[in-house]
Amino acid sequence: MKPWIRSFLGIVLFIGLWEALSRLLDKSLILPKPGIVFRVLGQLLVQVNTYNIALQTAWKVLFALGLVLILGVFLGLLLGLVKPLNDMSRPIIMVIQAVPVISWLSLVIFTWGISWEGPVFIAFLSLLPTAILTTIAGVQNLDRRLLEMARIYRVPWLKVLKEVYLGSLLPFFIAVVDVSLGQAWKVILVAEFLCGDQGLGVQISWARQLFNIPGVYAYTLLAVILGMLTERVIKYYLGKVKKRWAPA
């Protein structure tokens, strides 16, 4: 059986189980029937505004992810290369990693109020430690013998950085994107739900306040589909980069 048929059957099975469970529970406030949810989703998909809302969330996800990658890889590189700095910053990274989203929330609301900055900042802080720590692990796993070789041949440092460091770090960089992307969607949705001005998280929050439970599910489904789509697209391009840089 082809993989896509298996995936399709998996989706059918999931919807079937959902239908069965919703009939069993018979509480549309907790678990509405899939038919109702899909109908709401269909209504949303024909409205232009839905795409604007989805875009609001998507750009926040990509912006936060971009910031995390740029700063996380840069800081990870720096801390991986300078051990005293690494030792000094480790407790700070651990603290940032341990602080729950809800604690950042108060800080964000006091600083920016209800706005786009809050969700981006929260996602950024939630993902940054993983990016830094993964990059540090990459630097520490670097083949020192290659650096020694480059030293003997007096290769300019910028070339060493590009050819040796970036090549070695690429699998770690891809791992950061892999882990962070799914996380970014979840964190941005939560943050939008709690302190956002626009976006899918805000729509879920309003739907919940209006007891529009099928709406909650429909927006959630939309977020899941968008999350999966962005993941696919980014992974496709990362695969191309990987093929060019580290085909072995």
């Binding site: 290659l146 020694e148 480059a150 030293r151 041949y153 050819e163 090549g167 580290a246 085909p247 072995a248």
Partner: protein, 231 residues
């Protein structure tokens, strides 16, 4: 012309462990020197010292040129770069195709190291060392892991290159035949803390030498007896 190397009372310690004990020697430009000695005698350390990868504890080493090629024991090729890119990494302006042709690597330009056999990887390692037009070529047990046929072929290529460029060569090996095939002189060192105990001149034709050459075989047994006396 090859670089000259002057070593005076060179000592190298790692913490309290003394590895090299007062080595003094001169290697003249274009000379081919092979160092023989027991494992752990600091032979590789000496190569790293003349390559500038490590610092002496005391004494001095002067190398008249900074143009050094190093053929490592393991190829140390960038795994995600092709053969050609690996050579361009050390010398952007070099005639890579010419060098690949000289070392019988034509057709493998776009291969990744993992797609090559151990012998081919070692050829690329050598090509990379030669492409910087070295005045001093350092070989650290460069043929240790290769089968005899590949080893002979690579030695032949090195001698060809030496005849063309006359660089200075300093090599470390455990194989006496290999040493006699390459060397003008052989430095024999004792076990750690190592000292130079003998410098053996190889009066053979400086071009290609055969492993089966009767004079080479005679020198091998002479060398063997000197080494067994030392140990």
């Amino acid at each position: 012309m090859g670089a000259s190397v002057t070593v005076e009372e060179a000592c190298k310690n790692y913490g309290t462990l003394q590895v090299i004990d007062r080595w003094s020697l001169n290697i003249s430009g274009g000379e081919r020197l092979v160092i023989l000695g027991p494992s752990g005698a600091g032979k590789t350390t000496f190569l790293r010292l003349i390559a500038g990868l490590e610092n002496l504890t005391s004494g001095s080493i002067r190398v008249s040129s900074k143009q050094v090629g190093f053929v490592f024991q393991e190829p140390r090729l960038i795994p995600w770069r092709t053969v050609k890119q690996n050579l361009l990494f050390v010398n952007q302006e070099a005639d890579v195709d010419g060098m690949l042709s000289k070392l019988k690597l034509t057709g493998f330009e776009n291969y990744l190291p993992a797609q090559l056999s151990g012998g081919m990887q070692q050829r690329v390692n050598l090509a990379r060392a030669l492409i910087v037009d070295p005045r001093l070529l350092i070989l650290d047990e460069a043929f240790g892991s290769l089968d005899l046929r590949v080893k002979l072929s690579i030695i032949r290529d090195i001698i060809d290159q030496w005849q063309e460029k006359r660089f200075t060569m300093v090599a470390v090996t455990h194989d006496l035949k290999e040493a006699l095939c390459i060397a003008d002189s052989i430095l024999i060192v004792s076990s750690r803390p190592s000292q130079i105990v003998h410098r053996f001149s190889v009066h053979l034709e400086r071009g290609h030498r055969a492993f089966t050459d009767p004079e080479l075989l005679r020198l091998e047994s002479e060398l063997l007896s000197i080494m067994s006396e030392i140990q």
